[in-house]
């Protein structure tokens, strides 16, 4: 890997609807919090340049909608991710419970070469709120059981730990990227269709 090459890191943010994914991304990229973000439709992305260990890299951060209705879109942009950020809301236990599903979903859709060592980062968001109901310990235990996934408690609203978390994300993504250089495709597990028929061989207009 030549170190002059400008690197693009693809980061996917997953988590239930409403946990603060969009807010976190905006806090990191634009350094501000607003409670005027619209609900995300399908997916969006923002890019930001960051320095990781004296290297300039571009982070392409994909924000997703947590609703089931958009699940079928997953395949398209999970592919080729360098890091996956799982977000839950410390005030809603259900969003914590869903972490497992999101993780599975990602591993299945993205089919990374080495699922056990794919970099995940878990963020427990909204710690500025009073009514916290998922304990730090519980979250840490979960992360521990998933092969020592880094864990941060953040507040997109008050910019707590956001910078630090994304620094770690970038670093881990970079590490993944250098490995991923070796293999480039992510094959399907079971091939169902011979869908390699020419995609658009006739245009009827």
């Amino acid at each position: 890997m030549s170190s002059n090459k400008k690197l693009l890191l693809k980061v996917i943010i997953l988590g239930d609807s409403g946990v603060g994914k969009t807010s976190l991304m905006n806090q990191f990229v634009n350094k501000k919090f607003s409670n005027q973000y619209k609900a995300t439709i399908g997916a969006d992305f923002l890019t930001k340049e960051v320095m990781v260990d004296d290297r300039l890299v571009t982070m392409q951060i994909w924000d997703t909608a947590g609703q089931e209705r958009f699940q079928s879109l997953g395949v398209a942009f999970y592919r080729g991710a360098d890091c996956c950020v799982l977000v839950y809301d410390v005030t809603t236990p259900n969003s914590f419970k869903s972490l497992d599903s999101w993780r599975d979903e990602f591993l299945i859709q993205a089919s990374p070469r080495d699922p056990d060592h794919f970099p995940f980062v878990v963020l427990g968001n909204k710690i500025d709120l009073e009514n916290r109901s998922v304990s730090t310990k519980r979250a840490q235990q979960w992360c521990h059981s998933k092969n020592e996934v880094p864990y941060f408690e953040t507040s997109a609203k008050e910019a707590v730990n956001v910078e630090l978390a994304f620094q770690t994300i970038a670093r881990n993504a970079l590490a993944q990227e250098s490995e991923a250089d070796v293999y480039n495709e992510f094959p399907d597990q079971i091939k169902l269709t011979n869908d390699n028929k020419a995609k658009q061989d006739s245009c009827s207009c």
Binding site: S17, G18, N35, Q36, Y37, K38, A39, I41, G42, A43, D44, Q67, E68, R69, F70, Q71, S72, L73, V75, A76, F77, N94, K97, S98, D100, S101, W102, R103, D104, E105, I108, Q141, S145, Q189, I190, L192, T193, N194, K197, Q200, S202, C203, S204, C205
Partner: protein
Amino acid sequence: MWVKPSEVLVAEGFWSTEQQNTFFLLQQRKGTQGSSRSFSGLIVGTIDSVFDTKPPPFRILHQTPSSEVYYTISIALNKDDVIKDWDWLEKNILSILASFDNDDDATDFVLCKISSLVANDAADSDNLKLPDLDSDTFRSVSLTFRKNFGMPETEKLVNYYSCSYWQNRVPRQGWMYLTINHLCFYAFLIGKETKIIIRWRDVTRIDCTNALFFPDSIRISTRDQDHYFSMVLRKKETFDLIQQLVNIAMKQLISDEEYKEDEELLKKSSINTPTKPSFLKRDLDARAHTESYKNMFRLPSDEKLDGSTQCLIWAPYKKNFVSGILYISSNFICFGSKVNNLLSVVCPLRHVQSVEKLDNVKGHVSIKQALFVSTNQSNQFLFNEVGDRDFVCDKLSEMLGKTIFNKEALPDGLSVFARRRSRSNSLNEDQQQIPFLTLRSLSISKTPDNEESSSVSPIDSQPISVPLRTIVQSPSSPVEENYEALEELKEKKWKKHFSDFGEGVTLFRTVETHYLVIEGVPDSVRPKIWLIFSGAIHDLEANPGYYEKAALAGLAQGGPANEEIERDLHRSLPEHPAFQNEMGIAALRRVLCAYAWRNPAIAMNIVASVLLVYCSEEESFWLLAALSERLLPDYYNNKVVGALVDQGVLEELIFCRMPDLHEKLDNLGIISLISLSWFLSLFLSVMAYEAAVNVMDCFFYDGARVVFMIALAVLKANENELQELIEFAYRNFNNVSNSEVERLRLKHRLRVVQSLEDILMRNTLRTVGPECTLGDDDLKELVIYVRSRQSLESPDKEVRHTTVSLGGTSMSQDCYTVSFNTFKNIFLKVTPWGNSDRSDALSMSIFNLLDIDGSHLLSFRSVSWVLGVICGKDFARKLRFLYYLHLAFPPAPEDPSKYLEETAVEAEDFFVEMEENKKQNGPSQLLENNMIASIATISKFKHSRSDFRTFEKNYIRKMNQDSFINLWRTVYSFFAHETNEEIFCSLSRVGTLLLQTGEAGRKFRHSLSAEAPKEVEEASKEVEEASKEEEPNTITFNEDHFSEISNNVCASSSCTDDDEKSFVKVMSFNSELKAEDEVDQNEFQNVSKTDEEDVEEELIEETTSNVTEQISVMSEEDEPEWKISFDHFVANIANEELILEFFEKYVKVAERIKNLRDQNEHILPS
């Protein structure tokens, strides 16, 4: 039946002459009499399918003695009909013909006479023609088709076409049959049949190709194969029909609705359609027409087109006539100019006051055959030179008599006058009170009770009847004064427009209107414009009061839909002041909940909030309905299918119009992701608010094409200011028409729906855990088979939801499920156990075992697991399963349906006790382990109940005699068809040994129990007594008897038809050769009761087995009963080579399922 005379050259050949006179021959076609297929019959069949003609079996020919030429003059499907015509000829014609000197004259006479008869008949039958009358030939074709393909009555033939099918690069000439669910092709060439059946739902692509090897053909692709049909007569018609049918199939896949013929529609269109081959084809044609009519004028979805005719309309604003087409449908008169967009009129009959004929108006010579329509909206229409004027007028009067006008005030200044209508006076009062809802209204009645429980305060539920814009300040705009002035200017223009072109829904819609809309609609006029041009106004007027009730019901309803709404309320249009206070939020909540009640799978908060800014709640509600039900179909459902379809459409549009850009975007791979939010939020989430609202103006005016035009324009020049953008869009992409969009939607819907099906299939496959031993090929075949059954069986398609995540939490995904019938099919045809007299009973118990949640549907995971077990090589696993099955879900001996309930109840107890058992063990573990572990255990508890595989890991309890007999009976049935006598010897050897083992155990334990405590002893005595009553004969074993009987058995088993008896013999031998009837059915049924007693002590996890097993052994010893353990069972079977062989046999699952699929191709829903 007389036919137009036509020359035939070969009078003989394939026809045999039955009767003959000087001028006529009556012939029957060879190969049609009798069933035996003679050689000539074969040839005839071949010729028939090569040529387009498939003549009926009887005909009458005319020929003169001096001529070589024959004419067919009559054909018939049966003998009686042909004889009738024959007799008529002999009686009326022969004598006349005899009087001609010249043969040519005779021929002329015959031809003329017959032609006029035919013409006469045609006229007659036209009058008589009722909608149901599929023509005779069509019916006979339909019959042959059904016979050839074994299709049931219900599978209606739509049409058939001659064409050739490319089979291995060789064209086969034959017939293509199109039905509602299938495309079939049949060719019969020199004794070789070609049959193709393709289900529409499996089709992944259709197109016309001109590939080198398949010139000018229609290509139909499925996941497995490409099919090419060429030399299609009427190719365009065929292709359109295919496309329509596929599309119906795709819509079914989305909505699970079945295709139904629309009787009403048929009557309407059949009036002046010429004789078309099929009733259904006509139905589909009528549908297509009505569909495009509704699209053109944005009419409610239940509107049905009656007919159309050419005419001129008087355009008062420019004082001349415009030519176009007048459409009449159940509730509307519409007019569309020949020149696109020049002028159109939508006039609901509810606004019509009178319809008059006008002729010979003084000073206006040009007025003839005219109709004058006056409305209560101060608009009047003069239609001139109306084709079929009198008919149209009568029709209109009749319909006016039927429409019920409603007296409700119209919202927002749409003027309504009391209507003086000549024909509607006689209507009585209660007819006007049409219940506002159909079926769903039933659930409304429940809402009063629920109201308390929901968090709805009375103020909350009071709809706001004005736009939010008028209540809160509009967003602070930098050009405040300018804005006001602009608005005023626009308002003035619109006022002028309304006075020139009329007001209300009946206004003249002209190019001028279009320009005004593009310039931007002033806030005050918006609701009117949006409602009128989207067609939402019709629903609004037709359903007064609907919204209030829907809102109440929706708020009270709760559930996941409402949770989702709640979460997004504050994230919909947060920047707008209207939604920065509780009032606006409450209004949004009401509208969304009301709509979710009408249509639960829908979410469209962003669009809804914008509507609310400009319109009242009720208006917004109906605009939402128009949007998601008509303008953007399937957009907001739970898979956003519609938006995915339109992404495909957009991509193709880009590809065609800006190939360079397409390439760039394609390389970036982001085209679909970006466009999705454009579509779903109508640009609201990506454009400046004001700009996006203006886009909405155009969208409501001009339909879906606007979204595409804008999207294309945005892509091309996204820095341009908005105003320029819309102009730019219309200037550069005006050639994107709504009909093109519709056409492309058809095309892309196919792709999207099929790829969603693929995802479903992949999801389903993904649920298969590591415990399944089937190979990839097996699984693939299995999932394809299961998918193919989804549509065939109603229960399968009802519930496609299962929880998929292996981690076990909330996220659920759609998957295929397996119904009992499907499971049974697989079990019987694929597994080695499916071929015995107990197979039905076995399939039932296995189904119950796997059906853990009692939904009567199995998860794909469990089915693949069980197939892996039964068809695999691991005999111990297989036997363990069989053994366990007979403990927990013993197969019923005889009538499975009787047994079903009992089994289910018992199974429940079984699991409940199992769980209790584990809880008792809980505390000791808690002491030792930390918190996490205990959480893990608890979740394991949950799993034990929801997992059918627990027995694989757990200790399996012992089995009593009844269960064993049942089990042995099953094992025996597997071999019942064997002819190898050795096997029966092995069987009886093992059976005997096992019985002996059980008996030995009893004796041993009995002696032990003497030393046991008193109470236990008493209890055990009771048990023993009880068991003695059931089975008075003590079982002992005797070497001599054994050999004697096993010989017997071997002898008797060779006559395999009486397996039952020979089995009983084995058993009866074992029980001291008592009479056969002693082995009573009761014994099998008793199993359940004895089982319950045992469960408690015995089902304990292996992990804790060291300590607990001893306890359980102790407690077993308290009951001196007949017992064998699983280990006994396996060990004994493993000793017998022949039996073991059977259980070790590996089955090629993939192959067998493939066969099953091939057989099933022809079995269709009944």
